[in-house]
Symmetry: C2
Subunit: 359 residues, 2 copies
């Protein structure tokens, strides 16, 4: 494997309001500093995490047209031509396909890793070790995924069932499993044969092109047409809306035969809520993650985050409150117990009904 | 009693940080909207409360030199010459004395009511009825105070023990009592012969001048000197610092013989903490007092107040939190349970030690 031929495709589209009021429909989670460093966005952390093994000009950001500007702003070190801004969202198969065709255009045998932009990793060397192993398997023609070793009976993720060993730390995939119920999730955790599907994929451009040609021929036709017409913005705008709306998991990974999985255990976190953000945050001895200069008296395990023009200007004083999430932006303030972090959606729903924006 | 001769002296000096971060050493409590209307300061409410019985040009505001500007700003309807800004704080006797001498200068028999600026009254007609009764007693030569009928065994106030009846709703004062302990306070509440001293005084200018001459002759000398020198700012600046530092209660009321008290029960509240502010605030069916447009889900009995440039710009979303006080200003945010409202002082102490301002 030649490191000079490794490309990274960071999936940075999507929308979401689980981190309201910091995240908005047009400013989703990946732009927020939800990891341990309150100054680094998840997206920037994802790029930094792969930087020891992928040069900036081989980092591609797959995002939506509406997120082009914040993406430029978040990643000044990435060439602007490497931002692949989809004119419309068509799920992940067209997204991975477009990136693959783009990379293959200059290097058909390039190694590609596809990574989500909105998860977090605490053990970065551990992650890179697993990525190198996955790239090595990919170089042998496999479409490789990483399976996260479960730490709890999670019912919110898909699972990957391990098959036979292919090589050192590389296994066949017996099957992909949809989100299980609690009982099944507990048996998975006990059994040790099921890993979390974290949405990371490793392959050669050639192998993915072949897999798409085989399993999603309509998508292949569209992508070929884009590049037959020069691959520019107008060709993308013309053909993207007609591409099949399907995930790369359902469209390719679950159907292809040459699938492999590399188990990984590197502190992966999908950062699903403000609760996770507290979990990842750098905390003081009282378990608080507060802006610098805050005063905490009889206050424990609180998360306070501020964004926008108000940030850095105010002293926060918490007295006798614990396990709270407080988020302050220029146009909204959220206060709720950490244990109710999922209920941010109730607020967003009310605001949507009200129709006065701020979602 | 001729209404045209009634003057009001509003005591609006002092400092205090019980309402931090809204109140500051140089922006004390009377400037805050802590009553039922979140747009009206306690000071403005005090002036409005007496406006049916006292014309604006007979309203005098006794304050400190450092508070001159915010006082002008809070009371545009009051002539600027009526703001008596003390060059240094010398407690309330010099303050009442200066106002009395000033008023007596143009009308020696004027009726004067002295009122604190930082308490609140919910029954305004009831207050005015008591004030009229007190003024009537004052017109007969008494130095009159109002005693608030206790509603709880409060240990934080001084009490007035009722003496014989003088007239309808007017009693002699048997004695003034310092803050009692809990047991004594409970006996006062049960006994019915003790009222709260709310710091309101009613007298003719002539009677108060005589009382000061008798009980605080040194103060009389200073005040006479001020007016012998024209009564202007330089005369005040020269003599004020030498005036005896004593309260009008200790210096005059507790010593004079012609003291009367009018019992009153008009929803008086000394607005001692954010807890009191919640108590007075206009609240919704869930007991919340929140800025307009807030979202409250499973959230009850919270008080949210915002001041400064951040005010009115943000939507507050409270989920699953109850009995909290949240105060937001341009440079500070306070979050604490209502029941711990007194502990604001702990925050202010920490900030003072830190020495980075904001107190």
């Amino acid at each position: 494997m030649s490191a000079s031929r490794v490309h990274a495709v960071i999936m940075a589209g999507g929308s979401g309001t689980r981190f309201w009021p910091a995240s908005r429909e047009r400013f989703p989670k990946q732009f927020l500093p939800l990891g341990s460093d309150p100054r680094e966005s998840l997206l920037a952390a994802t790029v930094r995490r792969v930087s020891p093994i992928v040069a900036n000009d081989r980092v591609w950001i797959a995002t939506g047209a509406h997120l082009r500007e914040p993406t430029f702003a978040a990643l000044p070190q990435i060439p602007k031509v490497n931002i692949l801004a989809e004119p419309v969202a068509r799920n992940t198969a067209p997204c991975v396909g477009w990136a693959t065709w783009t990379i293959a255009n200059s290097d058909p045998d390039a190694l590609v890793m596809v990574l989500p932009s909105d998860s977090y990793v605490t053990d970065e060397p551990g992650f890179r070790q697993v990525a190198e192993r996955a790239l090595d398997a990919a170089s042998k023609g496999y479409l490789v995924t990483v399976g996260i070793v479960p730490t709890r009976p999670e019912t919110g993720y898909g699972y990957i069932e391990l098959g036979d060993a292919i090589g050192d730390g590389v296994r066949r995939v017996a099957r992909f499993v949809e989100k299980p119920n609690r009982q099944v999730a507990e048996s998975y955790l006990a059994g040790g044969a099921h890993l979390w599907n974290a949405g990371m994929f490793f392959f050669t451009a050639r192998a993915m092109k072949e897999a798409i040609a085989t399993h999603l021929p309509a998508l292949k036709e569209c992508l070929d047409a884009v590049f037959a017409e020069g691959g520019g913005d107008s060709a993308v705008a013309k053909h993207f809306p007609t591409m099949p709306k399907i995930s790369i998991d359902n469209g390719v990974m679950e159907k292809a035969a040459n699938i492999a999985v590399v188990p990984g255990d590197f502190g992966w976190n999908d950062v699903g809520s403000w609760e996770s953000a507290w979990d990842l945050a750098t905390r003081d001895v009282s378990g608080n993650a507060l802006p610098q200069g805050s005063v905490a008296i009889d206050a424990e395990r609180n998360l306070v985050r501020e964004m926008g023009a108000v940030a850095g200007k105010r002293v926060y004083a918490l007295v006798g409150v614990s396990d709270l999430v407080v988020v302050e932006t220029d146009d909204a303030v959220l206060i709720l117990p950490r244990a109710r972090a999922q209920d941010v959606r109730l607020v967003v729903e009310q605001l949507k009904v009200r129709g006065q924006g701020r979602t």
